[in-house]
Structure formats: C-alpha cells, structure tokens
C-alpha cells in the first residue's frame, strides 16, 4: 500500500533527509520510503517509483512517500519518520561521547557495551568498560587469545560478563544484540559458544510456543583450553541466579574434552535442569553428568521444553513425510542433476549439515571450504565440486566482502552460480533474520530462483530454513509464504533441512 503526505512550506535540509529513507526501510516490510523536498527532480523520481503526487506540490514542500506491505508496517514507518523530523538531527539531540571514560554512569547510566571495532582496538575499549563495571559484548574478531583470557579474567574479577570476542548473537533482557533475533521472553536460558546455534535453538523454542530469558553468547573460543569456558561458566551462574530462568541450555560445537567436562561438572551443581548439545559429540560425553545430552540444535530446543515439564508440540516432519517429499522432489529433477550445494551463512548450520551427511550418507564424498573432519577441503573455495557444503561466513569469503548476514550480495552471486550449473540438484540455504542484519536477505533469492526456473525450464530443489523470530523486522511469516509460493521448500529447522537433503542424497545414490 502507498501513502503520500505533503507538508507545505516545510523545509528540511538535504543532509537530514538523506538517511531517513534508509532508516525507515530497516523496519522491514517497507518497499520504498522517500522523504524529500518537492523539487521537479524529486517529483520525477517519486512518480517513477509509482507514487501519485498532488499537482500543487512545490519545491518548498516536504513530501513523504511510503510503500509498505501492511497497515501495521505503514504506521510504524510513518511514526518513525515523524519522530525523526520532529526532533533535531541526531547529532544535536543529546550528548556526544568520544570515550567511555567521559561517561558518568551516575548521571547517565548504562548496563552493557556492545563493541564492533576492529579487533586491535576492541580490547582497550572492553577493558575500559569492565573497569566501569559494565557487561561487555564483543562482536569483533581478530582479538589475540591472550587478550581474550585477560579480559575474561578481568570480567570475573568485576563480576561482569565478557560475551565474545567473535560473538555474533546475544539476547539480553529481551534486547537482541548484533545478529541476534528478538525472541519472545520466557523461562529457558541459553548459553552458547556458537552464535547461529544458540539462535536456532531460541527460535525453535519460540516456534514451539515458549520463550527465552537470555541468550548469553560466549564467543567462539570460550571453550578453548586456554580460556577454559570462563564465560560459559559465568553465564550459567547468571541463569542460575535469574528468577525468570527455569531451564538452561548449553550450545556449542565439539570442543576441548577437558573444558566440556568442566562445564558439564559445573552444570551438575546447578539447581536448574540443563540440556546440552556439543555438535558432533556422542553420548559418552554425558555419561557421568546430570545434563541431558542431545545431538542436534532442534533437539536442544525440544528437550528444554520437556525439562519445563511440558510436552513440545509435534515438530518437524516424520520419516514418512520426509521420504514422500524427497521422492516428489527427485521426480522433478533431470537425469544429469546429481549434486548438492549448501550455501550457509551460519557456521553452526554448516557444521550441523556436515555432521548429518557424514553419519547418514557416509559413502558420499562431500567438499567444503572449511578445515573439517567431516568433509574434504575444496581446492578453490570459489568453485563448487560435486557435493559441496559451504560456510559463506568463514574467513576465506569474508576476507573479500562483509559477512553474508549483513550483505547478501556475495552469497546471492554464488546462488546464481549454482543455479546455472546443470549438475546441481539441490541447494541448501539458511536465512538469518534480526534487527541487526540485512533488512531483506530473502527476497533476492526468491527472485533469483524464479528467474532460473523460468530460464531453465526445469526445476531444481531449494531447501531452506529461516532462523528468525516473529518480532524480527524482516517479517518471517510473510517471507516464508514468499519462498513457498516460489517453490522453495521451507523447513522448520536446519536439522530438518539436512534430514530432507540426506534422504534425497540416499535415494539419488540408490538410483545410480
């Protein structure tokens, strides 16, 4: 729906106007947002976008033109525009701080510092934050391991959490940090060394009708022997002390054995029930511990619900349903289509997928860009070979471009590449949503797929899952519809996607 407002004789300078459209689009569900002076050039531009403008609009008038998906989004957009226009430009409103030192917490209280500076600068700021008694969330990577240890020790001393470095996801007090999702509040607390892993667990919990009290990210190296799980242990302590949290979930990839045991031992001492997944582990890890060991992200979510004393709703597809779907998809493929291509943003999803295929399709050779025990390393990460599962958030890709959750262009380009390969049978995608990531990572992929199907005349299977919550600005429900309408499968979890792909892989192998 379109709405156009003209404010007569209201002048706003071009610099202030510049950023408004972008900010509004970030709300998600907004296809166009323009706030401009009514000059002839802008009139042309707006009419070109399909907006109907009043004839008596002049260059002295301010015109607001918004195209939104829904009434709700429209209202939100207009409110935001009103808020921006009615206040002075951001730099004038309120104080500017250049350093943490300047901030007097008595006068201007804060609780948390979120740091995304280049690694070499992150440490000094984190230290300063801890000295002030603030919790720290460090998105930055390239922080030396010794510095991470020193920071985490300082954090313990000050009673503050050090989430990170290299921490991509957090949910603290209902607020999504970095690439996290805005998940419904509830009694399950998550501590995760893996960002996308923790987020997937949280989103599945929400899909089951429950909520999350916190997602405490520890950063990817917290379970290294040099660090010894400091933040995971601290996070568990916080959740133990938190009256909202009734059940605790631990999420990680497989880590150092001694550290995992240390963590599980600490969990044993908690009063609250714990479920834990260390992707790639087997049952022996949990043998002498109270924590309920599970082996997939979705199981971590479902088990957490059970530990609340509830029965989770039916989640995921039965084996029968999976097989039926696999057969159906395969019947649409041509005989030369034989390969599986996974294009993942989330490192943990890549890991979960690789583990699944290596255990259920052990005969099938799989390539990846990662150094990984479950697959072979690709000679050139830019070119897929046979069955290839990629982590596009890994360094070989992010060295040349921003992480795909922020800027989908590189992954989209790779998607086109795989779509054009006549031997591609199945493409796996994950979509991650949240207020801090790209406002619409999904639509471009839908269009690319539709174009490819139209151009090629035949189909290829795309299996996706969306790691996102109801509150996320990207509008997950709507995007799910969009994907399905285009013929892209949307599975309720990454594990389910892997399950389906694996079933297809098995059947394909049988046919040959």
């Amino acid at each position: 729906m379109d709405k156009v407002f003209v404010k007569k004789n209201r002048f706003v300078d071009s610099v202030s106007l510049m950023s408004i459209g972008d900010r509004v689009k970030q709300l998600g569900g907004i296809h166009a947002a323009e706030v401009q002076m009514g000059t002839p050039v802008n009139r042309e531009m707006l009419e070109g976008l399909g907006f109907e403008l009043p004839k008596d609009m002049t260059a002295n008038d301010l015109v607001i033109a918004v195209r939104a998906d829904s009434e709700m989004k429209m209202d939100e957009a207009l409110q935001l525009i009103r808020d921006i226009l009615d206040h002075k430009s951001n730099s004038d409103a309120g104080v500017t701080y250049h350093t943490l030192k300047e901030i007097d917490l008595e006068e201007d209280p804060f609780d948390l510092v979120q740091i995304s500076l280049p690694g070499e600068y992150a440490v000094a700021e984190a230290e300063e934050a801890l000295e002030k008694g603030l919790d720290v969330f460090i998105f930055s990577d390239n922080v030396p391991l010794e510095d991470e240890l020193a920071l985490k020790r300082l954090g313990v001393e000050k009673g503050c959490l050090v989430m990170g470095p290299d921490c991509g996801v957090g949910l603290i007090g209902g607020v999504a940090l970095a690439a996290g999702s805005i998940v419904a509040g509830g009694p399950i607390g998550i501590v995760g060394a893996s960002g996308s892993g923790a987020q997937e667990v949280a989103c599945i919990i929400e899909k089951c009708g429950y909520g999350v009290s916190s997602i405490i990210g520890t950063g990817g190296r917290d379970l290294y022997p040099q660090i010894g799980g400091i933040t995971m242990l601290q996070g568990m302590k916080r959740l133990e002390a938190d009256p909202e949290t009734k059940v605790i979930v631990l999420v990680s990839k497989l880590a150092d054995l001694a550290v995992m045991n240390k963590v599980l031992t600490a969990a044993d001492a908690l009063s609250k029930p714990v479920t834990a997944v260390f992707l790639g582990s087997d049952g022996t890890l949990f043998a002498n511990h109270r924590a309920h060991g599970v082996f997939s992200l979705e199981d971590a979510a479902l088990e957490a619900v059970r530990l609340l004393g509830k029965e989770p709703p039916a989640f995921g597809l039965s084996d029968e349903e999976i097989n039926r779907l696999a057969e159906k998809e395969l019947s649409l493929l041509g005989s030369e289509q034989r390969y599986f291509r996974g294009l993942y943003c989330g490192g943990t999803f890549t890991e979960e997928g690789l583990i699944y295929f290596s255990s259920h399709n052990s005969g099938v050779p799989i390539f990846t860009n990662l150094e990984n025990r479950y697959a072979k390393k690709l000679p050139d990460h830019r070119v897929s070979r046979e069955n290839t599962i990629l982590d596009l958030g890994a360094e070989d890709f992010t060295a040349e471009a921003p992480h795909p959750v922020f800027e989908p262009a590189l992954r989209l380009k790779r998607f086109y590449q795989e779509l054009e390969d006549p031997e591609t049978a199945v493409i796996l995608l994950d979509f991650i949503t949240g207020p801090g990531v790209h406002p619409d990572p999904i639509t471009p992929f839908v269009h690319a797929y539709e174009d490819a199907v139209l151009a090629r005349g035949k189909s290829l299977t795309v299996i996706s899952s969306i790691c996102g919550s109801r509150e996320d600005p990207q509008n997950v429900a709507e995007k799910t519809e969009l994907l399905r309408k285009a013929g892209i499968l949307v599975m309720p979890s990454n594990y389910q996607s892997s399950h389906l792909a694996s079933a297809m892989m098995t059947k394909l192998a049988e046919r040959r």
């Binding site: 300078d13 430009s89 730099s91 004038d92």
Partner: protein, 419 residues
C-alpha cells in the same frame, strides 16, 4: 606540577583575550617601508618560515627577482639574480615582521599596504591589498612584468590616494563587526569572504562619495574595490595579525600565534616561545581540483601565510559557518559542523564575537593550544586554494598542520619553562 599548569592556563587566557577582545581598525594605506617594522632598503619579505634563496621553491625565487626589479635595484633578470646571489639582498619571513605574506608574499618597501591598528591591544599590522585584475600578481605570486608594474603604480598613485583620503577622513573602519556579521552569512574569512566584501562596501560607499576628487578618479577607485574578488581578504588577515602580535611573547602561553608554509616547510610560532619557528615538511592539501586533468603531481605543497586567520579562529576553525567552502571538498553540512566541533577540542576557549547560526548560535572556538593538539592527535585544519608549481589555482581544499611542528614546540616549551 600544578603550578606550571596553572601558569600555562592563565597565560593562555590572556593570549586568547588578545584575540577575543581585539579591536582591529583599518586606518590607512602606506608604503610598506613606513609601516612594516624592520623592512629596510634592499630587503624582501616572503611567506612561510625562513628559507635560504638556494632552497626556495620556484615561486619564491621568481618573487625575489621580481622584488628586485620592482624596486629598481636591478634592471634585468640576470642582474637581479646576480645581485641576489652576491648577498646584497636581505630576505626574511613576512611573519617575522608585523605583516602577512599571503601566497608567495613578496613585500618590499615600496608596496602600498593596508594598515590595521588594533586599538585594544595597541599593535599595528600591514597587509598587501589584492592587485585588481592581477589578483595574485606581484605580492601573491611573485610575478613581475611591465603590466604588473604599471598596475602597481596605478594602484599606488591613482587609486590609493582616493581611498586613503576616505579612510583618514573617516577616522578608521572597525573590522570586527564586519568579520562577525559575515561569518553569520556564510563566510569563513579565509577562502570565502563574499559577505564581508559586501558589508565592507556598504560601510565605505558613502564616505567614498564624499571624497574630493574627480568623478573619473572616484569611479576608478570604486571600480577597483568592487571588481576585485576577495577584496576584504587582506583586512581579515590584518585584523588577525595585529591581535596575534599582541599575544606573541606572553610567557607560559601555549597558544599558536602563526602558521604558514613556503612550499617546502610548514612553520608555527607559539606565544610563549616568542619568535622561534617550529617546522616540518609542508603538507599537500586535499580537496577537489578545478579540472580532472590535475592530480597531486601537479600540486605545490602549502605556500602562504594567510592561515594567520586560522590562528584568529576563522577559516578552517569556522567551517561550520561556511558549509559552502566545505562542499568544495565534497563535504556535507554535518561534516562542516563536525569540523568546527573537532577544532573546539584543540582550542583554549570560545569567541563570543563569532556566534554561528549553524552551531545553534554557539560561539566559534578560538586559540589553538599545542598541548591539546598533541593530546588529542587532532591537528588544525587549514582551508586554502590548491596551486600548481607555476602559481596557477587548480583547486580548493584543506590541509592539517603537521604534528611534528607541535612536537618540536612542546619540547622547546619544556626546555624554556622547566619547573
């Protein structure tokens, strides 16, 4: 430790008040030899810190020859060069005297100069007026030709007597009100003084009409003033220089009193360190070229003393007042404001005479403190035109004063004022 800091801060307050409480008044037009202290016969002043003739850039060398020819100390270029090389010509930095050398800054005793008297501080400074059609010309670009010589004569003998009569009869023209108002109208008074030119004109036109000269002479004088772009530039420089002369020599003050370049080196002076120079390699300006054919290769590093106005709190420090000047460097309004706010962090105080609408009517910062420059790592941003090696204007931009100047100055300060 506290004692010296207090002494410095008190001295800086005093130094800043030389600027803030200054009362610069244009009083006269006189030959440089009569108003520039220490400018003698067979002496030529130039812009930037002191530099030996052999080391000078082409523009200065050319300017030295032009100075000799202009004064008639030699008749041909060759003779001029010989005379210079014989050591018969004394050369010195304009900023070692009560004057300013904008551009190449060639000043000799016979050049007619605008005289500014700071009635609050009791100091006088002289600056050279623009040369009409030869905007740069002799003083600005060290050029000399028959036409330029003739123009200088014409200015001196035909135009200035009229203007001089006007200003002497009037008893002087206060310059600060013009500077203050012009900075509310989009000028920063270094590279842009469009409003100041108009305000100045309005101030003097009636008095000019009252002068007792023929219509032709009056017209010629008015035409010179009206048609010379940036006419007011030298008055702003004079206002700045006369105030800063008063601040020079205040013991313990860390305020910058001069900033300049000679295409090889950039130099600063500090109030508490008197006439000593602290130099570093001259920076290249960054900005936009007037044509895409130009690149940094064509550019001459900083030459000129006009950044004396930055020391007075105008120019680059007043960026917020002049977003148009900043837009020439590709900046937006918010960047212009940010630049002034950044400059505030290295300044001693605020100048209540310069209240700026774009800053929500806050005052402009004033008085560059070498300690704050080093502490914050923020160097003063100086506005200016970009020039090529022949002195042609090829763009507009800005440059930062090199940190090395401040480091040297601070070390010298510590030696001069041990605790």
């Amino acid at each position: 430790m506290m004692e010296i800091r207090e002494k410095i801060n008190a001295a800086n307050e005093k130094a800043v008040s030389c600027i803030v409480d200054s009362d610069p008044v244009w009083i006269d037009i006189l030959p440089a030899g009569q108003v520039v202290d220490g400018l003698e016969d067979h002496m030529i002043l130039h812009s930037g810190p002191p530099v030996a003739y052999e080391d000078m850039c082409m523009l200065h060398k050319r300017g030295m020859v032009s100075g000799v020819l202009f004064e008639g100390w030699a008749d041909t270029e060759k003779e001029a060069v010989d005379l210079i090389q014989s050591g018969a010509i004394r050369m010195d930095s304009a900023l070692n005297h009560n004057t300013v050398g904008a551009g190449t800054g060639i000043i000799t005793k016979s050049v007619a100069m605008i005289v500014v008297e700071d009635r609050a501080n009791g100091t006088r400074a002289a600056t050279f007026p623009a040369e009409g059609p030869f905007q740069g010309g002799f003083c600005g670009w060290g050029l000399f030709s028959r036409d330029i010589a003739e123009n200088l004569r014409h200015m001196r003998e035909d135009l200035f007597p009229v203007i001089r009569e006007m200003i002497r009869r009037r008893g002087g023209l206060p310059l600060k009100p013009i500077l203050a108002e012009s900075m509310q109208m989009g000028d920063e008074n270094h590279t842009r003084q469009t409003a100041a030119d108009l305000l100045f004109l309005k101030q003097i036109v009636l008095d000019m009409l009252k002068t007792n000269v023929s219509r032709e002479k009056l017209y010629a004088a008015m035409e010179y003033i009206v048609n010379t772009p940036r006419f007011f530039h030298c008055f702003g420089q004079g206002a700045a220089r006369s105030a800063l002369l008063a601040a020079s020599g205040i013991p313990y003050s860390t305020m910058v009193t001069a900033v300049c370049g000679n295409a090889l080196e950039f130099g600063i002076k500090v109030a508490g360190l008197g006439e000593r120079w602290f130099t570093a390699p001259a920076p290249m300006m960054k900005g936009r070229y007037t044509s895409s054919q130009y690149t940094e290769k064509d550019q001459l590093p900083w030459i000129g003393d006009s950044c004396v106005v930055e020391c007075y709190g105008m120019g680059g420090l007043a960026a917020a007042a002049s977003p148009i000047v900043c837009s020439l460097r590709g900046l937006k309004m918010k960047d212009a404001i940010a630049q002034t706010r950044e400059m505030s962090e290295i300044c001693i105080g605020k100048n209540h005479n310069f209240m700026i609408p774009n800053l929500d009517f806050e005052f402009l910062p004033v008085g560059i403190d070498i300690r704050k420059v080093l502490k914050t790592g923020i160097a003063p941003e100086i506005h200016g035109g970009m020039f090529n090696h022949d002195g042609g204007l090829i763009g507009a931009g800005s440059a930062r004063v090199p940190m090395l100047c401040f480091e040297k100055a601070l070390k010298a300060f510590a030696e001069t004022y041990p605790e």
